[in-house]
Symmetry: C2
Subunit: 576 residues, 2 copies
């Protein structure tokens, strides 16, 4: 039994119940809309908001995260299944369930193997570019539904082309309904709560009531369509939805399809996880709580498995609905359980009422919900802060728009790894000399120091590992080639926290090559943990030179005259 | 005109000429063998040893590097073309030229765009595992030729299966010839130079003469086959080779084939570049010279373009032949030009003599040359030094053996990136307190320090960037959740060399979440370049808190009582 369930009482239940009601009223139209965005029958969205909520309540760690279908995952689902099956077909729906199944299994696997760090591949600029690009594609994809012709989807050029080709087919009644609800939702978002407050409602109630604006749009527009029989005049409506709860069944799987879907499922799992964790952390911090990443992986994995077994679609924690959940007063995961029950009741009894719901109104719901995710000024901010990160963000954004969501995110990840390798492949190396009158060694380019002629002192300001191992070989070869008198090279390792196997081999190669050139390699100021490792290798035997505790000691041993000179040149200003 | 050509004189020419002669005698049988290993007619190997050598002499930077076909690239060529075309067909040969063309262009592109750092993706463990695995596959692949049946190729299981199926077809005369030359080459490698020295030859001449052992095997075995008419008894011979120089032509290209070959060409370019640079650096260091990476890329790119235009195959610098070149006295790139002329003469006049050369003898040449590359104990050494690097090396080795060369190297690269991310995703964070009686702050777990109750001091011992940005959010959330009395958090940034855009957003999120929890975030001891960047962002405005020059100053400002306590608790041991 979860800890929060032990102290559960009527007061908590009342708070959770109210939050669940508000979230459900928001979730019903969103679920329907996001299922259609994913290319699925709308009822999949309802099903994805029942069992997954229960599963997350049992296994997740955030008390206020609200899971369910979200726009970005629906777009990714559509983008990965669109090329394989006809939207609306039984194969398509089955493949969507397989995607949820696979990404659920991947999330569970990441939880068990503690692979949450994989999400670090998705840097902030990549995620930001991805979300903005996806949101743009989603918004553009709603225009056909608003205008009354069949939805397009696909990349930016494909969508623009389709719009140009199809706009003469626009349907005026549909457009009127769509624009009216768009305006209503827009206005409600900005001003409804304020108006209700001015009408005398308490702040709390005004906010909660304002959030049911999408439901009101749904009810009013359905009533208008039903009353004026606009569906027979060509306004596309949701049509008949099945009544009742989803039947439990595993999706049909065959090996080759699973292999085909695996990369998309991995991206879905990672993007869903990153989004959910960032929502969860934001919510938890407000109450000085914290979420546990492994538990989040478990919760999201279970939620996706539940979605796969009950006719849903891939799910994750949604930002807007989680904030609503918390602000409406959710105190424990029981709020999620209550939401699930309310949506199950809706699937049991309310689906006939949704028959007349115009698709254009759902498109307006998506537009208003997703528009805020488009943040092109973030690109400008990132670019100003760091050109490399800006490049990664811009490439992801453009990649999503022009090549598609999967190609875009992969491009971004590849580019950020490349830029990272580039950035770290040239660590700071400084030739150092002795500060007169001290035992300190500083950069010869910044300080008036005494350099030995036969001993080259080199300070490495970075851990030595594979991105910079070869640079070290190159630089040292260059420095020694420039100094024919040098007989000893001392690497000052005070800034080296790690020497990996690549750098170890580079050091061995350097030692060997230096020996062939008549130069002996030594190390100084090697940190304890690094030394422990080196002792397990053969470097210390092959080094030829010694390992000195301090760099001063190294110079004392290898070139006492230069040390004496440094002492002397310090004495001068005082003594003479 | 290259610099080395200006002072060129007869003495240098004599030295280069002798080295060229020795290298050519070694290169002729190796070229033939490696072309066949790549699935190509043997004469491609000769062609790949003429113009590419001239091209490298013109554009490369190493005076003693000897380019030409090498075993590993030939194996990679065979592995990438085998699934596409029938070995020996005209399409196959054309595709091999396209591979050389593409990898030449990629190398030139890397030279112009200064993308040499891309080779850093191939860490030492990955390269080592790749070379050992490839060498094992190559050696195993020679057994069919030694035993007298048609060569297999492919992964380890496929080769073992083919050997089991075909061994009853073994041909005794072929086996006898193969084993005899194997034994001769083996013995010559170990003992011939010593024997010649004991017979009175000067060291230099004994070494050089011993290196012509493969040529002697070729001549003697060809003579035996011709004399005993063994080719009619079933010993496979090289057969008729075309006479004359290669004709110059670009390979036929079509878009879809180019796209198919591009990934393989990229791997060929990277592996060839890494191998060549490591050979070049080893050679250069012996003479206190250095090679320039951009020039190497240029030289190798030009060599591969030349190979593609003159009926060759992908080429790079070979280790054994470059060492021979240097030890035989090569002083300038002119040695490469002389080698090219000698091999052109061989193509013009000597190919008829190669008719009777038994394929089993070429197989023996490959076996002896490649056997030394198998270094399974390197895996053990790496494993003992670092389990993570050992894993990457082992996975690459097994991947090459079981999945093929391309899959193996990609597996290794992916795994080393993963392990790297894992390793850096959890940087060292220490809660610090004030050392009594000083202005220093140290880790509370290691020192008896004074901690403030309302100010949490946190030292970050690593640059903040995308692999660890989320960990920072998580850890800070956890630390603050544990300490309800905390009102200020000061991040001590003395060890932070970089804050990338991911970490910047994490810091913004942290500041915002802390503010929601009633905690103010401050920074201290931010380095100059990091501060310059932060000033271009909005963090400093959004921070809420201040940026302190020293951590001591931060505590003085935020919790003077705790500073006083630290001073007092220091005074005790002395005063009381």
């Amino acid at each position: 039994m979860p800890a929060w369930l032990r102290g559960y009482n009527r007061r908590l239940a009342a708070a959770d119940g109210l939050a669940a009601l508000i979230v459900s009223l928001l979730l019903v139209p969103q679920s329907l809309a996001y299922a259609m965005l994913a290319g699925l029958p709308a009822v999949h969205g309802l099903y994805a908001s029942i069992l997954p909520l229960l599963a997350y309540a049992l296994f997740g760690s955030s008390p206020s995260l609200a899971v369910g279908p979200v726009a970005v995952l629906s777009l990714m689902t559509a983008a990965s299944l669109g090329p394989l099956f006809a939207a609306g077909s039984a194969e398509y729906a089955n493949a969507a369930l397989l995607l949820a199944l696979l990404s659920g299994l991947l999330l569970l696997g990441m939880a068990l193997l503690r692979l949450g760090f994989l999400a670090n591949f998705l840097s902030h600029p990549v995620i930001s570019g991805f979300i903005s690009g996806s949101a743009l594609l989603i918004c553009l994809g709603q225009l056909p539904a608003l205008l009354g012709f069949s939805a397009g989807g696909g990349t930016l050029p494909a969508q623009v082309q389709a719009l140009f080709r199809q706009w003469p087919d626009s349907h005026l009644a549909t457009l009127a309904l769509g624009l009216a609800s768009l305006f209503w939702l827009w206005w409600a978002r900005r001003s409804l709560a304020g108006l209700l407050r001015r009408l005398g409602l308490a702040d709390h109630w005004a906010d909660n009531l304002a959030r049911t604006a999408p439901l009101l749009a749904v009810l009013v527009s359905s009533a208008v369509v039903a009353f004026a029989q606009l569906d027979q005049a060509g306004v596309r409506v949701l049509g008949p939805l099945p009544v009742g709860l989803p039947s439990l069944a595993l999706p049909h799987a065959d090996g080759s399809l699973l292999r085909q879907l695996l990369p998309a499922a991995l991206l879905l799992a990672l993007v869903g996880f990153v989004e959910s964790v960032s929502v969860g952390q934001t919510l938890a911090a407000r109450q000085r709580q914290r979420i546990r990443v492994e538990r989040e992986l478990l919760g999201l994995g279970a939620a996706n498995l539940a979605a796969a077994c009950s006719g849903g679609l891939p799910v994750t924690g949604g930002f807007a609905r989680s904030v609503v959940n918390q602000q409406a007063g959710a105190r424990t995961p029981m709020a999620g359980v209550f939401s699930a029950v309310l949506i199950a009741l809706c699937a049991l009894y309310c689906t006939p009422w949704l028959y007349y719901l115009p698709q254009a109104v759902l498109a307006a719901t998506i537009l208003v919900a997703v528009w805020g995710l488009i943040d092109l000024r973030a690109l400008q901010r990132t670019w100003r802060y760091s050109i490399q990160d800006g490049l990664a963000q811009g490439a992801t954004l453009l990649g999503v728009l022009l090549l598609g969501v999967e190609a875009g995110i992969l491009l971004g990840v590849a580019l950020s790894l490349l830029l990272f390798l580039w950035r770290t492949s040239r660590p700071h190396l400084a030739v150092v000399g002795q500060l007169p009158g001290s035992e300190h060694f500083r950069n010869v380019q910044r300080f008036a120091v005494v350099q030995s002629e036969t001993v080259l002192s080199l300070r490495v300001d970075e851990s030595l590992y594979f991105p910079n191992a070869r640079y070290l070989e190159e630089r040292i070869a260059g420095l020694v080639a420039e100094r024919p008198a040098v007989r000893h090279l001392v690497l000052m390792c005070s800034g080296v926290n790690l020497i990996d196997a690549s750098a170890l081999e580079s050091l061995q190669a350097i030692a060997e090559r230096l020996r062939a050139a008549g130069v002996c390699l030594h190390l100084s100021e090697v940190k304890g943990p690094v030394m422990d490792r080196l002792q397990r290798s053969q470097l210390l035997e092959q080094l030829g030179g010694q390992v000195f505790v301090s760099h001063f000691q190294a110079l004392q041993c290898l070139d006492p005259q230069s040390v004496a000179r440094a002492a002397h040149s310090a004495a001068k200003p005082h003594g003479e």
